[in-house]
Symmetry: C2
Subunit: 222 residues, 2 copies
Amino acid sequence: MPAEQVARGGARSLETRHAIMAAAERLYAEQGIAGVSNRQISEAAGQGNVAAVGYHFGSKVDLVRAITAHHSAAAELIRQDMLDRIADPEDVRAWVECLVRPVPEYLAGLDSPSWYARFSSQLMTDPVLRAVLTDDALNRRPLAAVLRGLGPLLGHVPAEVRRARAQMATHLIGHTCAEHEERVARGEAPPASWRATATLLTDAVSGMFAAPSTPTPKECPA
Amino acid sequence: MPAEQVARGGARSLETRHAIMAAAERLYAEQGIAGVSNRQISEAAGQGNVAAVGYHFGSKVDLVRAITAHHSAAAELIRQDMLDRIADPEDVRAWVECLVRPVPEYLAGLDSPSWYARFSSQLMTDPVLRAVLTDDALNRRPLAAVLRGLGPLLGHVPAEVRRARAQMATHLIGHTCAEHEERVARGEAPPASWRATATLLTDAVSGMFAAPSTPTPKECPA
C-alpha cells in the first residue's frame, strides 16, 4: 500500500476515534455511564458498525481513559502557569485558587455546552472507573504542589486533616462544576458565569482549609 | 388458594426482594452501577431465574429507588431527633452537626462493612438516577430546616451563596462517607472511626459555611 494511502487510513481512524469519544462524552454526561451501551455510542458517532467502540478502544474503561487524557493535560497547563505566577507564597487564597480555577477556566474555554465536567464527576464516584483519574499522574502532581505550598500556612491543622480536606476539595470542585455545567446546558446560567462559580468555590474551599480542627479523643480510634 | 398459602407466598416474595436489594447494593458499591448487569444481580441473589430483577422490580431505576427508600427514612429519624434537641439555636456548629452526623451515625450502625454510602454516592453524580434522591421528599425536608436555622446566623453570606454551600455540603458528606466506607471495607480503618469522620466533616462544613463571600462584579454575569 502506498505511504500516502496508509496515512489517509490513519487519519480516518483518528477521526473515527474522535467521533466516538465526543459521542460517548455527551451521552455519558446526559444519560449516565450506567445507562449508555457501546452500541448506542457507535450509532451516535455515525458508525455503521455497532461494534466500533470495541474495535477502536477495546473496553469501556479504555474509552473512558482516552476521553480523560484528552482533557486533563490542558487543564494542568493552566494550573502550572498559575503556580508559576504565585506572587505571595504566604497567601492561602492564592494557593487555593491554583487548586480551583484551572477546572472552571478550562471548562469555560470549551464549546458551550461542555460535557466533560458531568462525565468526569461520574468517574470520581465509580469504584472501578475512578482508577482512570487516580492513575493519571498529571492529575496528582499539581495537587501535591498546592498541598506543599499550603502546609506551612495551615500549621494549626494536623497534616492528615489537611490531606483529607484536599481530597474533599477535589470533590467540591468536580461536583460543583458538573452541576454548573448542567445549568449552562439547560440555559439556566450564561456561559460567562463560570467565573462566578470559580469564586464561589475558592471562597468555600478557603474557608474549609482554614477551619479549626477538633481533636478526636484518644478513646475513639481515628 | 388458602389465605395462609397466599401469605407464605407474599413473605417469600418479600424475602426475594430483600435478597435482590442486598445483592444489588453490594455489587453496585464494589463494581459500580455502570459495571453490573441485572443478570449478575439475580445470580448473586441466588435466583435461578436471571430475569428476577425485572420480575420483582421492573427497571434498574425502580430497584435503585427501593434500596434508597429502605435507608433514607432511618437516617432522617436520627436527623429529626437531633433537630429537636438543639439547645442553642445561635450555635452554627449545632446546625451543621444536624446536617452531617446522621449520615455517618446511620452508616456506623449498619453491619460492617456497609455498602450504602458507596452506592448512594454514585446516584448523586448520575444524571438519571440522581432523580431518585431528589424525588425523595424525606431527603429534603430536614435540609430545609437546617438552612432555615443557619440563615440568620450567616447574615454576612448572601442567601444564594448559602444555598450553593448547602448543596456543596451534601456532596462533601456523601462522597467523604463513601470513601471512608471503602477504607473500612478494606480494613484500613476500624468501624469505630466513623465518629472521627463525622467530626472531620463537621469542622470542614462549618468552615465552609462561615467563610466570607467575595462579591461577583456586576460586569461578570452570575
